[in-house]
Symmetry: C2
Subunit: 286 residues, 2 copies
Amino acid sequence: MKNTQEWFTEIDEDNHCAFSLKVKRKLHEEQTPFQKIEIYETTGFGNLMVIDGFIMLSSRDNFLYHEMMTHPVLYSHPHPREVWIIGGGDCGSLQEVLKHKEVESAIQIEIDQRVTRLSEQYFPELCQANDDPRAQLKFEDGIRWVENAPDNCVDVIIVDSTDPLGPGEGLFTEGFYRNCLHCLRPQGLLIQQSESPLFHPHILHPMRKAMKAAGFEQLHTLFFPQPVYPSGWWSGTLACKDGLGKFRAEDARHKPFSTRYYNEHTHRAAFAAPDFFLENVGRLEK
Amino acid sequence: MKNTQEWFTEIDEDNHCAFSLKVKRKLHEEQTPFQKIEIYETTGFGNLMVIDGFIMLSSRDNFLYHEMMTHPVLYSHPHPREVWIIGGGDCGSLQEVLKHKEVESAIQIEIDQRVTRLSEQYFPELCQANDDPRAQLKFEDGIRWVENAPDNCVDVIIVDSTDPLGPGEGLFTEGFYRNCLHCLRPQGLLIQQSESPLFHPHILHPMRKAMKAAGFEQLHTLFFPQPVYPSGWWSGTLACKDGLGKFRAEDARHKPFSTRYYNEHTHRAAFAAPDFFLENVGRLEK
């Protein structure tokens, strides 16, 4: 189980398992000031981006993650006009956000410009909205961004981060969430990718605890499939500034754009928490 | 990406990916008249059963599959008294079925007795209900069983089979489904594991087509996570003899037994079909 010329393998040391994709060739490798980025052409999954040895996305299945990190939160907000994406340098979340006509401004705050430049080159299908006049691409530290931003200026914050290692670490802290809470307008919503419900309860539950400690009123963890991530099952956690985000089901039913996973039904389904998760919430978030 | 002494690897040749589990040791290996069975002790997933090179189950995550192959169908039937499990030799589905007090008889029809004997030895936690007076373990060919059984004699049939290769192949045919339909009483339901929604549309949709051709009135494909199976995302397809199986939500809400994944909410969630699946239904099942 080693990386060979024929396979890219990501080993999950904590869970003693590994996932491998057959590769045709390595298209690119570089060490940026922040991380090591590799791009592969795979045999069955299209192009693959790997950061610091961890799979970030493949052409084949990124639609699951990008749709579920954006449409559920946007259709849970009554009028999402200003949206920030913290991280998300591949621009896939930005593109989904801009499918919503009511969004007037979407700012992507990615610390590493190279992620975006490489995505433009190797995942051009995710970067179709980069020239939308409503889009702004900032290459700055998302932690600083929310520290310095004025209060009450944004409706939805999407934290589309790497794992809480390296540059992503500070995005899982109470301090970061408190700053986000201040930036959000009334009825504001935040969603953050929250790892595998099965493999990473030691990340997911402390993260939820930090969100609550920061003052978010209600949390909803969303569950969805994502084959290239450990366990093939992933989550996002939606946090509400005040009160429950009400699902605009009628709008979702008549969405004026196409999706591959998301619809009114998978929206509702994503909110269904398994019994073991509910038990963990009671046990690990006290 | 080879099997080594340290790792068990299942390569998905069609999808050009692989999943590996770290192993401590091989506990058992035998060639039965039907298939090759291997049992491993893994580092992170407990014991592992492999048949003809394909992962069947691990101690760690089989609860997902077993709960979702049983409780949704049983809580969709108004009064499931007689239940058959075709295949299911590890006895995990049988055990879940017998948690339902209204079940008066559950017959497991497994072609290969060795699967059950090895499960008793290496997965004893799945075999706790084998001595239940309502349980019968038959070691026969499930295809013959439904051919020879009288009409109108069973309420629920659970087809807990291997992939449509080797002994499992005949369980994916119109002839088999027609026999099942005859065996079912009015309001009867059948569920069959139907592979990965993302990786195996070439199995799933022909299977649904065969069920319809056999005369089943309504089909519902259920979606759930299963980390050790290809793509980490799996499905079961529920077929109704006549009319819609109505969900006994109140009973599910007050189920007198514990589960880890299944509950009233994950039941409903499992029925939510992604847009790409609905599109495939229209395109591939004509």
